[in-house]
Amino acid sequence: MTNQMLEPITEQTYYLNMGPQHPSTHGVLRLFLKLDGEYIVEADPIIGYGHRGHEKMAESHLYEQFLPNSSRMDYLSGLLFNHGYVAAVEKMVGIEVPPRAEYIRVICAELNRISSHLLWFGTYVMDLGGFTPFLYCFDDRENILDILDHVSGSRLTYSYCRFGGVAKDIDDEFISATRQFIQRLRSRWDDYHNLVTKNVIFIHRAKDVGVINRELALRFGCTGPILRGAGVAYDIRKAEPYSVYPEMDFEIPTGTAGDALDRYMVRLQEMEQSLRIIEQALDRLPDGPIKAAVPHKVRPPKGDYYFAVESARGALGFYIVSDGTSYPYRLKARVPSYGNLQVLTDVLPGTLVADTISILGSIDIVVPEVDR
């Protein structure tokens, strides 16, 4: 009985808000952590700080008016979202897109994927403490932004894909700049590998950290580099081929253990595959019109449609219910980061606070895409 009295009644767990304003949450994500010293007992990602109400907005706007919204959901792969939304509506209405426009869309989509992966690479390594790769990557990324700016007019939030094709034709300057960029980025790979992949500190921070195996990815609905890091070769460009991807020959890189290092390697190899796609698309670029004849106000027939596209973060799907008018009745964007982020509630408990930064960085989310 006596030592019962000596038992100090003190609270053990410490609540920490890795809150909306934090350098490594890549936006306004709030991680509410229950800590026991350095170890995380429970993690609850609280989202909604970047919620703009895209889906409600779609219900009172024309299909054309929702075009700018589509690239502002995930502004890092804006063109992929744009392509997804436009292709979904085209499939509903049954518009036939000329081949040249399809090739241009694939080239620009892959360029946008590379720029999204480059930004992820820079900010991920900066979260782990290395500042120089951030400057290398932004330097490369600026080249892509110049190329896409030259043809679409904007650097980040594109409305380049239109119903029936693309807004502007690409010219020789675009093609030569892209070929130059491919050479330049290929010469960069060994810089990145020497600077980061072979760096022992980075390996210690990323190896066996945040292991997400196939079963966990299936339970949480994770897609994209997280799923491919766990060893599942699931890529919408191969699983549900769209546009001219069936004519491109590229592999889907996969990891084995599903830890942060595997996700890192998968994304780097994906950038190389995207370069291969761009090269093949440039070689086989057909001539011809870049936009099909499309009614001014698109009026899809009644019914519900689902169209999936592979965005830089995973399987992006647009589920549109149309009531025959030129306003969508309901538009649901199935964003990959929503499932990817939720896996944190299962992966984080038991790890260190320092590992949270590495896991969150390796999952690569964009918060306004999660919040829609």
């Binding site: 936006g27 700080y49 970047g50 703009r52 109400g53 907005m57 650097r155």
Partner: protein, 174 residues
């Protein structure tokens, strides 16, 4: 926002000293890393190697409001985020300025329509804004133009900012 009660100024105001201090403050603005949405990426691009903000002494992005004297509201202000922005603004030490970057921070931008339930249409409804940088997202050069405009505001005139080599005013003798 209620009539903005002016923050009490310094107890003793020495004109010459104030001018020298403003010259130093203008040329070493420390912004707070506080990106909400797409404009944050352009802010990072402005801080990166091509559009280097360090040329204006403003490249030191401090994560905590306690060590920064400039808040860049870069992105859409959701209603859930508004109280946090006000808290961060109040936790910043005295000589502090605010740049509203992008149309969402200026007036709600592309997401403002009647029936919008989720965003605060404009940062000036919750925090006193000094410089507005329009664009969706504004290019990094536009953000740098905003920085130069803020520096002129602090030193009350471009000609008095002797430490600066980049002339913002296009018209020669403004």
């Amino acid at each position: 926002m209620a009539e903005k009660e002016l923050a009490p100024g310094p107890r003793v105001r020495l004109a010459v000293l104030e001018e020298v201090l403003n010259l130093c403050r203008a040329n070493s603005l420390w912004p707070m890393t506080f990106g909400l949405a797409c404009c944050a990426i352009e802010m990072m691009a402005a801080g990166a190697s091509r559009f280097d903000l360090d040329r204006f002494g403003a490249g030191v992005f401090r994560p905590s409001p306690r060590q920064s004297d400039l808040m860049i509201v870069a992105g859409t202000i959701a209603k859930k985020m508004a109280p946090t922005i006000v808290t961060l603004w109040e936790q910043m030490p005295a000589p502090k300025w605010c740049i509203a970057m992008g149309n969402c921070a200026i007036s709600g931008g592309p997401f403002e329509y009647d029936g919008q339930y989720a965003i605060v249409p404009g940062a000036d409804l919750i925090v006193p804004v000094d410089v507005y940088v329009p664009g969706c997202p504004p290019r990094p050069e536009a953000l740098i133009q905003g920085f130069l405009a803020l520096e002129d505001k602090i030193t009350k005139g471009e000609k008095r900012n002797v430490l600066r080599r980049f002339k913002r005013s296009i018209v020669k003798n403004r």
